[in-house]
């Protein structure tokens, strides 16, 4: 079974819990951040520490963690799946965003836009996605002009570089 299938099951369980009013978002994000560190991952895979010891270490590193999250980590350690924490968090966050009709859009631009342009871009992207948009702006001078919007797997290329590339293909064909 692929790891994504397993992660999705844990993420779904956590999402259902959060829908019932248990606040997990911040704690889980912190845990995932800690678990993504290579040394921590190696430690989590070591068999000579008990799950309780691993929870204590993770809890200390991530600040305080709630009982639910402590139980999650125990469960994952018992099943040797603690390394899935970052992936679980990613899927969980996507689920939360979807539930809140929110989407993360990465906009690649040639030059950093001013506040007004940024607002315009945000409005246009929100219109395009049909959801509330959390905008992330990345600068890439190779685009020459225009912008490229990435929403999930969807990419809308309105850049000068993309147009030139299209022209090259049209002439070469």
């Amino acid at each position: 079974m692929s790891s994504i299938t397993v992660s999705r099951r844990y993420a779904k369980a956590l999402f259902d819990l959060s829908q019932e009013g248990v606040d997990l978002t911040a704690g889980l994000a912190k845990l995932a951040e800690v678990a993504a560190v290579k040394e921590v991952q190696e430690f989590l895979d070591l068999p000579n520490f008990t799950p309780e010891q691993k929870v204590a270490v993770l809890g200390k590193a991530a600040g305080s963690i709630s009982d639910e999250l402590a139980r999650l980590v125990t469960m994952l350690c018992e099943r040797s799946k603690a390394s899935l924490l970052p992936e679980i968090n990613e899927i969980f966050e996507t689920m939360v965003r979807e539930a809140e009709q929110r989407v993360v859009a990465t906009v690649v631009v040639a030059a950093k836009p001013d506040a007004e342009t940024k607002k315009k871009i945000e409005a246009a992207v929100a219109d395009l996605a049909g959801k509330k948009v959390q905008l992330e702006i990345v600068e890439n001078k190779q685009l020459l002009g225009g912008l490229v919007v990435n929403i999930g797997d969807r990419q809308i290329d309105c850049s000068l570089r993309g147009k030139l590339e299209g022209l090259r293909k049209a002439i070469a064909a």
Partner: protein
């Protein structure tokens, strides 16, 4: 070549004018891994099975696996420039190759790109590589012969236009030779040929091209080559690409012939791709759909009716049927026809030409085993003359083999048995034929007529082939009218029979053999 700069500028101007630079809305993913021509891609949530994907550096691929969270795809062509994390785009199109008469006389790769150094192709159309075969209603029975020009085949295992006849045998038994002879024999018949070379040495392909050119058959032949050095993905797709090129002619009311040389290697390539894609291996490690791999390809060989052609061409071509005859080749190991792929293809095709190493080594060339070779539909397409002279040949040969084996133990034989053995010996001898020398219907009919009529009985067995050569030369010079008439209307009327008898008697009287 003279370059007209003004003309080039105007072409570029038109292209720029026609280019619409709107926002490109695409579904994208990131490359996770690439190995042996197979890519694993994260994202591409909107990808469809069989869809063409665009990789960086003008490289294309095709979606084969749709999994939760990732997409498995084969890459066509070079893949060493691809890096982990590269962007992959959906194109929304199915993989296509160029089609049309401009491909005749050319050698192309599995993507339809020319590899013969003769410059760009003169083709305007492109067509999808994977297509659904014509349905039941659109088909017509096979009733026109496709002459291979090989006596043993045209008399005993006739092939009809639209038929699928398997050529099966061990290595070095003359499988390719039969296919090449058949292509050579089509040079003035209006049948367009497609030769698909899969997993062969590039030098072998080059020698096939040379043979066809020497015999003037290259001009109506398209050669699709996915040689052994090319990726497994290209070897897997090459037969489909060739089939699409052949279908172009079928759909326009013409006749076409396609040779897949060979499907064993295509199955190997597909097995390799499937194993890298982690599809569960089955018998002989082939994936579960290896039968469908060949059945969907061979189903596309068909004869379509007038209505289909008319509908396809929007009424431009009327009253014509089209056909795509296919000659798949399968290589067996030590004559084992019960291996997985050979049994599959035998069950899919409308008959098989079985070649044997022992026959080949004993000098019987083409090394066709008359007992195991069959044609399930070709009989309806055989010419009347050939049906008459070749009708009893298979039985006669079978009886001869039995008697010959029996005669080894007995010293005294009765007259009838002795005669039958002598006739059989001459029958076996007359079915021998040189490579690259297919015969016309009239030539084959005359020779077999002479055998049936007992004209060869008084000729020594080792003189039979000289007699055949002499007789055919005599007929070509002295009886051209009779031969042309027989070629135009292959029927053994009383008049023709009398003419043949007289011509054979005349030749025998000269004693020049």
């Amino acid at each position: 070549m003279k370059l007209d700069t003004a003309e080039i500028s105007s072409i570029i101007k038109e292209q720029i004018k026609g280019f619409e630079a709107g926002a490109a809305d695409a579904n994208v993913g990131r490359l996770i891994s690439v190995g042996d021509g197979v890519a694993l891609i994260h994202g591409l949530s909107g990808a469809m099975a069989g869809e063409m994907l665009e990789f960086p550096g003008d490289t294309f691929g095709m979606v084969l696996n749709l999994e939760e969270g990732s997409v498995g795809a084969v890459i066509f062509g070079e893949f060493t420039h691809l890096r982990e994390g590269d962007q992959v785009k959906c194109t929304g199109r199915i993989f296509e190759v160029p089609t049309g008469p401009g491909l005749k006389g050319r050698v192309v790769n599995a993507l339809g790109q020319p590899i013969d150094g003769k410059g760009p192709l003169d083709v305007a159309e492109h067509s999808a590589v994977e297509k659904i075969a014509p349905g039941v209603i659109e088909r017509k029975s096979v009733d026109q012969p496709l002459q291979t020009g090989i006596k043993a085949i045209d008399s005993m295992v006739p092939v009809g236009r639209g038929q699928r006849e398997l050529i099966i045998g061990d290595r070095q038994t003359g499988k390719t030779a039969i296919a090449i002879d058949t292509i050579i024999n089509q040079k003035d018949t209006g049948v367009t040929c497609v030769y698909v070379a899969v997993g062969q040495k590039a030098s072998t392909v080059a020698s096939v091209v040379r043979t066809l050119r020497e015999h003037g058959a290259l001009d109506n032949t398209i050669i699709v080559a996915a040689s052994a050095s090319e990726s497994a993905a290209l070897q897997y797709i090459a037969p489909y690409a060739g089939c699409t090129m052949g279908e172009y002619f079928r759909d326009r009311g013409e006749d076409a012939l396609i040779v897949y040389d060979d499907l064993t290697k295509q199955a190997w390539a597909y097995r390799q791709v499937s194993l890298i894609l982690r599809r569960p291996p089955g018998r002989e490690a082939y994936p579960g759909d290896v039968f469908y791999l060949h059945s969907r390809l061979l189903e596309r060989a068909s004869r379509v009716d007038e209505t289909y052609v008319e509908k396809f061409t929007n009424g431009k071509v009327t009253g014509k049927t089209g056909s795509l005859t296919s000659l798949p080749i399968i290589e067996t190991q030590e004559g084992d026809v019960s291996a997985f792929v050979p049994t599959n293809v035998i069950s899919i095709t409308d008959g098989q030409i079985f070649l044997e190493t022992s026959l080949f080594n004993s000098g019987q060339r083409p090394a066709i085993n008359a007992g195991l070779s069959v044609s399930r539909v070709g009989g309806a397409a055989q010419t009347k003359a050939m049906k008459k002279v070749g009708g009893g040949l298979r039985l006669d040969l079978a009886q001869y083999r039995e008697l010959a084996a029996f005669a080894q133990f007995a010293s005294d034989l009765d007259e009838a048995t002795r005669k039958q053995i002598e006739r059989g010996k001459r029958g076996v001898e007359i079915l021998k034929q040189d490579e690259n020398s297919p015969q016309s219907v009239a030539e084959m009919t005359t020779v077999l007529f002479a055998l049936n009529n007992g004209d060869l009985d008084d000729i020594e067995v080792n003189k039979i082939r000289d007699f055949e050569k002499g007789l055919l030369a005599h007929l070509a010079s002295a009886e051209a009218g009779l031969m042309n008439g027989l070629n135009a209307k292959p029927e053994l009327t009383d008049e023709v029979v009398a003419g043949l008898k007289k011509a054979i008697a005349d030749f025998k009287a000269t004693g020049t053999y």
